[in-house]
């Protein structure tokens, strides 16, 4: 043990710490070998494949109307048809093309915005930190869905504004996580050493602080992916998401909810939401179990 650490070595050690945990360290299986994670990954992989091959796999045009309305599930229409005679299987498959990329976009944008602001708040401290954290408090004060509804309603309901609204409601959590990670390493020797060697703040943030604080935020982002799918579907259910006639799962559930006796109209898009959200959550949980020290103790 040395008390005066080699800055380079310690920095590298910090960066590798969370990657190493993913591989399971030296004691247990890697996270992607656990059965439940395998199931989640398979489901997500399946959905991604469906989304990529939607044009090939969907038997009908997802927007094409036909006189064959409210047909129950059959060989011709696996998931039945809706009130306008549209094939629900084709719509569910095409819905994956909207929901999954949009959820990824929401989470990456929120991570980007929240991450940057968290870095700045943690590194600069003082009044910048105060101001940014009060801003996050402000956003946290409202239930996510209510704030998102208000934002979308104000800007006008469409896909771009729904994504924007969900970014606005979800960035603070990343800012908080990154900020606390930055704060915990503020007095670390290698940072001090780097500063003494004349490394500027931008370079320090990029080379030293960010790589060592991004781990928990990535885990959080995986967990939040499921949440993003769900929030987007909720906005869309309320008529505040992508504009009709887009095949979006939330709006499809809303259409079916008008008359539950035609159960297939809402059940299949509902199952799509359920499987994707569950898969993201399981994956996020597995990552967290492995990376967050609070959850690895006692194993």
């Amino acid at each position: 043990m040395t008390t005066l650490a080699d800055p380079k070595a310690e920095r590298a050690l910090g960066r590798r710490r969370w990657l190493g945990r993913l591989r399971g360290g030296s004691t247990s299986r890697p996270v992607w070998r656990q059965p439940i994670t395998v199931v989640a990954l398979t489901i997500l992989g399946g959905w991604l494949l469906l989304a990529l091959l939607a044009d090939v796999l969907a038997p009908y045009d997802p927007l094409a109307q036909s006189p064959d309305t409210y047909a129950s599930p059959s060989g011709a229409h696996w998931f039945g048809t809706d009130s306008l005679g549209r094939d629900i299987f084709s719509r569910v498959v095409h819905g994956a093309r909207l929901s999954i990329p949009l959820a990824l976009a929401i989470v990456s944008l929120a991570l980007l915005v929240g991450g940057l602001l968290g870095l700045v708040a943690g590194y600069v401290g003082r009044f910048v930190d105060e101001a940014l954290m009060r801003l996050t408090d402000l956003v946290f004060a409202f239930p996510q869905i209510i704030l998102a509804m208000a934002v979308t309603a104000a800007f006008g309901p469409n896909t771009r504004n729904a994504v924007l609204a969900l970014v606005i409601v979800s960035w603070p959590v990343y800012a908080r996580v990154i900020r606390s990670a930055v704060l915990s390493m503020r007095g670390d020797d290698y940072l001090n050493a780097a500063r003494l060697l004349g490394v500027g703040p931008i370079r320090a943030l990029r080379r030293d602080v960010l790589p060592n604080s991004i781990g928990p935020a990535i885990v959080l982002a995986t967990l939040e992916l499921g949440n993003a799918v769900l929030l987007l579907a909720a906005l869309s259910f309320l008529g505040l998401g992508p504009r009709p006639p887009a095949a979006e799962w939330g709006s499809m559930v809303a259409l079916g909810a008008q008359d539950l006796s035609m159960w297939w109209v809402s059940v299949f898009p509902g199952l799509a939401i359920l499987t994707v959200v569950m898969a993201f959550n399981v994956l996020g949980d597995a990552l967290r179990d492995r990376l967050d020290p609070r959850y690895t103790k006692g194993r």
Binding site: S83, L84, P244, P245, L260
Partner: protein
Amino acid sequence: MSVSPRRLLAGASALATLAVLSVSACSAGGSGGNANGTAKTLTVNTSFVLKTLDPGRVYEATGLTAVHALYDTLLTFKGSDVSKPVPALAESYQASPDAKTFTFKLRQGVTFADGSPLTADDVVFSLNRLKNIKGSPAVTVSGLTVTKTDDSTVVVASATPDPNIPVVLSMPSTAVLNSTVAKEHGARDGADAAQGDTAQQYLDTNSVGSGPYVLKSYDPSSQVVLEANPKYWGTKPQFSRVVLRNMDVQTQKLTMQRAEAAEISLDISGKLLDGLPGSLQTSGVQDTVYFLFLNADPGVSAVTSNPKFNQALRAAIDYQGIAALYGKGAAPGAGLVAPAFPGALPAGEESKRDVARAKALLTEAGLTNPTVKFTYPAITYKGVDLGTVATKVQGDAAEAGIKLELNPQPLTTFLDEMRGGKSPLGFTPQSLNYPVADSLINNMAPGQATALRSGWTVERADPAVVAAGRKVTATLDLAGRATAMQEWQRLMNASSPYLVLASNSSIVVATTDLTGADYTAAGWQVDVAAVGRK
């Protein structure tokens, strides 16, 4: 231990009393305890649209149902027939040939629920109050002067000829209040009553009328309870208690599926009627039309203001298919007047689809793949999701080569945009506030308020439409007016910015033990006092 016979008897009679009490408690239990068909309570389920029970201010559906049961008007409509007003407080009336003066002879011996007699003074006070407090329903009487010639005669005069005054005086807002009690609680009828009248709070929780029921309790978020008026002058209602319950429409459907007796629902319509047990009875009339409006102002849209495009869109729509979306009780669009009202276009004049003609018209107009923004309110109206209908319109138009971009808006935003007159293409339902179809002319004829929101000025309109509209207002007998209305609608269908997609029914669903549960387009939906048991 010995028990004396007397004690046994006392115990037995106590038990018997208890049994009787518990049985009567069950049958008085309202909604749940109606199984034996002897209940005295009628339950009416509806999704509340209720702001006030003050007759001078009432404008919303649920309020109108209650006010109609609590108060009397000079004339009224029986059952679902809205073609001709029948006597109520007035036993007869006389119209002058110029349709400007109407003389009402009041029925003798009518008393308010508190026992005091109803006089011509009460009628004059109530109608002047309605006019002068300038609430939402005041527009119907704004041009009227009301005077009494003696204690049992009231004269209503209009500045302009208006054969519809008897219809207006059948509306719940023209109800007659006990003026003595109302004044004690702040009611005023003077020209400055808009500021001076403070009676609403009292009238929300107390009824001061002569109707078949009196108000027992008022909670605008959950329920309104009416009790039979023991001093009612007319035929006493069969149910001694009526409970209006606030309930969303899906729950209404579930409730009616299990209801056994003495229960009514007012909002189950359209596709929601599917799956209701056949043991329930329904009554409905087609009183709502759904139409598109195309902006006639070239400054807003060069496409929608093109008359050939207007015609092409009319030919592109699958009217039968749209009516099918609305479910039972709907019909393909014909004219702007819904079939429930006098002046509607007769059966057989529904608009028809002709995609080839639509394409030809587009070519004539020189438009290839025109794109139009299509704005509509993202709401469910009378059991129908307007977004579904709009998507169907989009699909139909696409087959003819017209691209519509759907633009759903929250209701308030939609109304703002509509008032602003900047939407190239919009979609809205329309129900009449009172059963006089020619009020449409005051709104939708070229140059009128609603028409101007679609940029439809007199200069941009076909002179024949303008003339046909003037002819309706100039015709003073009601039958002649209805015919003139039909002619006006045929011309409107040729060139107006309004494209009627379908008409749909409002429906009362009732348990089979009931009689008289008839839907009326008169405004109060159902006359609860006329509902009885078989």
